[in-house]
């Protein structure tokens, strides 16, 4: 009997009813008397009975399952009872009787409920074979066993049948549709015809048993008619026949409300409330509302021609253009793509009609409104009024002369104080001296290395050039000037052996260099020198070694052949250094700032904050109070040192690096040159009246140089007396611009 119940898998677990339990106990008793194998199974079944199912279903299932039990268990345990299988089968399982293999015990137990109570069965009580309980079956998915039986023995999984075989078998088997695989016990169960019928009825929502009448007439057990005594002997309560006080109160309240007119029964009429709202409006504008100014919303934008349903054909973008819109930014992309309809009946409904209006509504109440003045002016009127350029003449305008001869980029030029000669250094390793008026190349020195910088001595009686070549500074006698001057120069450029020794501490040695004509002194530095600058008296010169750290800036005295480093702490990499044109003040330009030191007092006077990214050049106004600083971002800053340490004016003129800036010595002119092959000439008038700001007027853009290797004009210098400008280009030309 236990084996039978096992087949019932999940259905079993759903059964619960007291009645059945009682019966189950009976069965237990019976089973115990029969065999010892089953009792624990019964108890486990009792536990598993958790939900109720209809009795009819149970009973019928019982009837069939008992016949339907698998041959495995019955065969194992009760193989001896094959003979008495059919004697007690009831009518309901007649269809299946052929393959019935129940043992006699089962038959007896099944007989009992069928005979006595008609609807219950014994198989309920039989324990399921697998005892793992209500756990997810996937826990056993990878195991070899499906669970344990009641005695704790492992239940092995059946051999997996080949799918193909299974399919073929099932295809052959006409009863295949009745077979259900019981996962819990790992076996196949076949439903009986009766069971299938029951299931069909259940699916239809009918009671499973045909005989059951859900609408049976109700039979009252209580007899109402012929009783002598009433059910209750209590007297009739008073509240049954007196009027309610609370009701009266409520009614009175309502009556009062109606009388007072709080409750009205006629519906209020809806009348249109339209009248002439602006009847006496003439008086109203004088009255001022005390509120803020009302800013009317801007009117919706009027449609353009492209919104026409039939715009001119040139307004329709081509297919390529429409495709290109998709590649565009969302902002650049046109909001509306014009389309053309050949007649009015073809115009479709506009999808965004509601949305557009809604967006307008949102704009009306959500957008902050500000009165904005729209500038409707000619952009030219924004340009500042500058004094006429004619009044500011003379200034260099056109290229007048070209000095040809260099084979590499001319890196630096310098004008003689007299204005008669200019010296130029080039990357082809030569230094040349030219006569200004005739373009004649007077002297050539082959240095052999790239000349970075040349500078004339400012004294007219000392025609000396300072030249920067790599780590050396050459002080070169040019051999120009009168004989007296020459004598003086030659004396000056004699270096004794003794002097060169004691400078070792500073790692600058003065060496007589006789390779060059007219004689020269070589000042050997320990790092590459970037620029050299003369003091106004012509005796001192300063050199800058950007990589020299604390000894980056040196001051050499020519007459005593002395070298000393500047006694100031340097902040950042020095770019250039300049002497003040009249006083003993020294400017050191680092990449960000320009520091001004007093050489006598040996202290910092001022720090000019350029605000530029990288300073490239600096020039001092001849009066000494104004400084211009050029930067590698193409900006030019004018500092008025009396005014503040911030730039007085910053001019953005060049798109590329400014390579050099220069002031004219006597005319109110300054210039900047840049790698974009242009030089700007400005009028920069400084007034002696301290209250008047300097006047800066851009005058001219000088062109003519061509770019080579990305570099344009490398240097510019004014003529000392004439309003002329020399420019040195990377295209190995020197040009003179005249007025």
């Amino acid at each position: 009997m236990g084996a039978v119940a096992k087949n019932k898998n999940e259905n079993n677990r759903e059964n619960d009813s007291d009645r059945r339990r009682v019966i189950g106990k009976d069965n237990v008793a019976e089973a115990q008397s029969d065999e010892e194998v089953y009792p624990s199974g019964v108890t486990s079944h009792a536990c598993s009975d958790s939900e109720s199912d209809s009795d009819y279903l149970d009973s019928s299932e019982d009837g069939e399952f008992e016949g339907n039990q698998s041959p495995v268990d019955s065969g194992a345990e009760d193989s001896d009872s094959f003979d008495d299988e059919d004697d007690d089968k009831t009518g309901n399982d007649s269809g299946l009787s052929g393959d019935e293999q129940g043992n006699s015990d089962e038959n007896k137990s099944s007989e009992q409920p069928q005979g006595g109570e008609e609807s219950d069965s014994s198989e309920d009580e039989v324990a399921p074979r697998n005892t793992i309980g209500n756990v997810p079956l996937e826990w056993y998915k990878d195991e070899e066993l499906i669970g344990y039986d009641i005695t704790g023995k492992k239940l092995k999984k059946k051999e997996r049948q080949d799918k193909l075989d299974a399919f073929l078998a099932s295809a052959d088997d006409s009863k295949n549709w009745r077979k259900i695989y019981d996962e819990y016990n790992d076996e196949e169960v076949e439903l009986t015809k009766h069971e299938a019928r029951l299931l069909k009825r259940l699916l239809k929502g009918k009671a499973p048993h045909v005989d059951f009448d859900p609408y049976a007439p109700y039979v009252d057990w209580f007899k109402w008619d012929d009783a002598i005594h009433p059910l209750s002997n209590a007297p009739e309560p008073k509240r049954r026949f007196t009027p309610s006080k609370w009701e009266a109160k409520k009614v009175a309240k309502l009556v009062r409300a109606i009388r007072e007119g709080r409750i009205k029964f006629d519906k209020p009429k809806e009348e249109s409330q339209v009248y002439d709202l602006w009847a006496g409006e003439s008086s109203s504008p004088t009255k001022k509302s005390g509120h803020l100014a009302y800013i009317p919303a801007p009117k919706p934008k009027l449609p353009g021609l492209e919104e026409s349903y039939n715009p001119p054909p040139e307004y329709i973008p081509t297919q390529e253009e429409i495709n290109s819109y998709q590649l565009m930014n969302e902002e650049d992309c046109p909001k509306f793509i014009p389309r053309r309809y050949t007649s009015m009946r073809n115009i479709p409904a506009y999808d965004n009609a509601v949305k557009d209006t809604f967006e307008r509504c949102l704009d009306l109440y959500l957008c902050p409104r500000v009165r904005k003045k729209r500038l409707n002016i000619d952009p030219e009127s924004l340009k500042p009024k500058l004094p006429s350029r004619r009044d500011l003449k003379p200034y260099p305008i056109t290229c007048y002369l070209e000095y040809k001869g260099h084979k590499g980029a001319v890196t630096s030029i310098s004008t003689d104080t007299s204005g008669q000669w200019i010296a130029s250094g080039s990357s082809d390793g030569t230094v040349r001296v030219w006569e200004v008026a005739t373009c004649r190349c007077l002297r050539i020195w082959e240095i052999g290395e790239v000349v970075k910088h040349v500078a004339w001595n400012p004294l007219p009686e000392l025609p000396i050039l300072a030249i920067v070549v790599g780590a050396d500074v050459l002080v070169l006698n040019t051999g120009l000037g009168s004989e007296e001057d020459q004598k003086q120069v030659e004396e000056l450029l004699q270096v004794g052996a003794a002097t060169s020794l004691d400078d070792k501490t500073l790692s600058v040695s003065w060496i007589q260099d006789d390779r060059y004509r007219y004689g020269a002194i070589k000042l050997q530095h320990f790092k590459t020198v970037s620029s050299v600058e003369w003091h106004r008296k012509g005796d001192y010169l300063s050199t800058v070694m950007p990589a020299g750290e604390s000894k980056a800036i040196m001051i050499h005295q020519l007459s005593k052949r002395l070298t000393q480093r500047v006694p100031f702490k340097l902040h950042g990499l020095p770019v250039t250094s300049v002497f003040h044109p009249t006083r003993s003040i020294f400017f050191i330009a680092t990449k960000k700032n320009v520091r001004v030191y007093d050489l006598l007092k040996q202290k910092l006077v001022k720090k000019l904050e350029t605000g530029l990214r990288e300073v490239s050049s600096i020039a001092i106004h001849p009066a000494g109070d104004n400084v211009i600083v050029g930067s590698k971002e193409g900006k030019l800053s004018w500092f008025d040192m009396d005014l503040s340490s911030q730039p007085f004016r910053t001019l953005t003129c060049h798109p590329k690096d400014i390579t050099n800036v220069a002031f004219h010595r006597s005319y109110p002119l300054f210039a900047s040159c840049s790698d974009d092959c242009t030089a700007y000439v400005f009028h920069g008038m400084v007034y002696s009246d301290l209250n008047q700001n300097p006047l800066i007027v851009p005058l001219e853009i000088l062109r003519g140089h061509s770019s080579s290797n990305g570099r344009g004009i490398l240097d510019c210098k004014f003529h000392p007396r004439q309003p002329w400008l020399f420019t040195a280009g990377a295209d190995s030309l020197i040009k003179l611009y005249c007025h």
Partner: protein, 607 residues
Amino acid sequence: MPKHYRPPGKKKEGNAARYVTRSQATKMLQVNLPTFRRLCILKGVFPREPKKKVKGNHHTYYHLKDISFLHHEPILEKFREIRGYEKKIKKAEAKKNKDLANRLLSRKPGYTLDRLIRERYPMFVDALRDLDDCLTLVHLFAVLPASDRENIEVKRVHNCRRLSQEWQAYISRTHKLRKVFVSVKGIYYQAEVDGQKITWLTPHALQQVLPDDIDFSVMLTFLEFYETLLSFVNFRLYRSINVKYPPILDPRLEALAADLYALSRYLNRNSSAPMVESDDVGSSGSVQPEVKQNGQESEESELRLAQLQHQLPYNEPGALMHLVEEAANADEEDEDAKECKNLFADMKFFLSREVPRESLLFIIPAFGGIVSWEGDGAPFNESDQSITHQIVDRPKQDHIFLSREYLQPQWIFDCVNARLILPTEGYLVGRVPPPHLCPFVDDEAEGYVPEYADTIKRLQAAARNELLPMPGVGKEDLEDPQRLVVEGIIGRTEANEAAQKKQKLMALEKQYHDELKMELEGRVTNQGNETIAKDDEVRDGLNDPYLKQVLDDADSISKVVMSRKKRGLYEAMKKGKERKKASVNLLKERKRKLEAAGKSGKQRSCS
């Protein structure tokens, strides 16, 4: 001490004291956000942009005065009352007290917006000025389907429809419509009422779809206000032409959905009642009140003139002249109206079934035409012999009356915009009509004149010459009156124009060369000349690199000294101009290509 530190006793100052964020405002008013929104919409309160946003950039700021203005608003109290009342209803429903709930529901307290309208628009002109959005929204809702989900009631849709048609009837009746534009989005109308240009958009008469991502409550609040506003405006306008408002319509016509026609009939009947019933349709009945109005206006202006004359000192003839000019202007406007009224003066139109009837029924009478349509309730039917034009929008017309012209509806719109009876060849049935041009675009400012606009302009010029000969051309016309044929005039005007253009060009060129010479010699130019020279150079496409360089230099030199702000502005302006030019160039380029393609196509077809 930090800069923003405020001692405990001291009041807040500046922007922090003057502006509040939206959430602060709702807290101050003790309302929830939807109510606040409603209140803002009804009162016309909008956020403002403080100079310094104290609470951060992502907030909406309202001025404190605006908020206190809302705080004193009686309608706020009304909203609270309604909210309380709704709670009562809810309570009754929750207690299953159906009687009470029904009774309460039927007696909901309402509120009126007339006071708000008066407050927002103290003058009638103010209301007219703000009518654009109102009309657009009302016209939109007039065609929307009523929807339970979005709370769009049938009643409101009908009301919108009624209001919009009343408005259209008024405009049509008083001939105040000026411009019409059929766009993809709908039909734009522009009318001029009391000197205010009012533009509105009506959607195409097709089924509208209600999108899901729209908060209809906002739109409905707007609509609530606009409905009230438009009804008051309509009342006043109807009153100004002596018609009772709200109009009582012929139920038969109303049932046939010919509301507009019913309305215009009503208007005609009422306003011409004191006068003689002159004709059957009654369009000419409108002449008299118009004249009357004109008379009144001119009288008024004279009176004003007289008044002002007293106030003015005697030695100021200039001011007086100005006044006279103004009066003349007023007359001119009247002329404009007259022109509009007589555009379709003796034409009779018949609309086929498929044309946009509502729109045309509105437009044609507004310009003095008589119109009928296919369908019940029409004043005359298709077989009427006096019909001059039949508006048809189908590929082919089968049955043709020879006495009338069969035209596409676009002809009407184009005629209206050009104020001219255009030649009908291009608009015949079955042809692709010429482009429909936008009347709101100023071609000169745009920099590009479409070809058809040019033709229309020439036709207009021709028509004007015919009516009143211009002083310059008139003499010649008088000399040989035979040449008063339209084409001749067109040709002459064209020639004149061309000659003028040429002269102008030559002058400019000369000026330019002078300028350049001056520049080369003296190198002196003032800013103005430079710009002219530059413009010229651009126009002529003269490509002397040196001169170009000189001009460029002058430009960049003056840019050097500009302050950063001004330079930015200057560059932005330049960029804007360039963009405009680029778009015009794009149009020209496309046109050129199209023409080239057309030519090659023709050649191919010939060969």
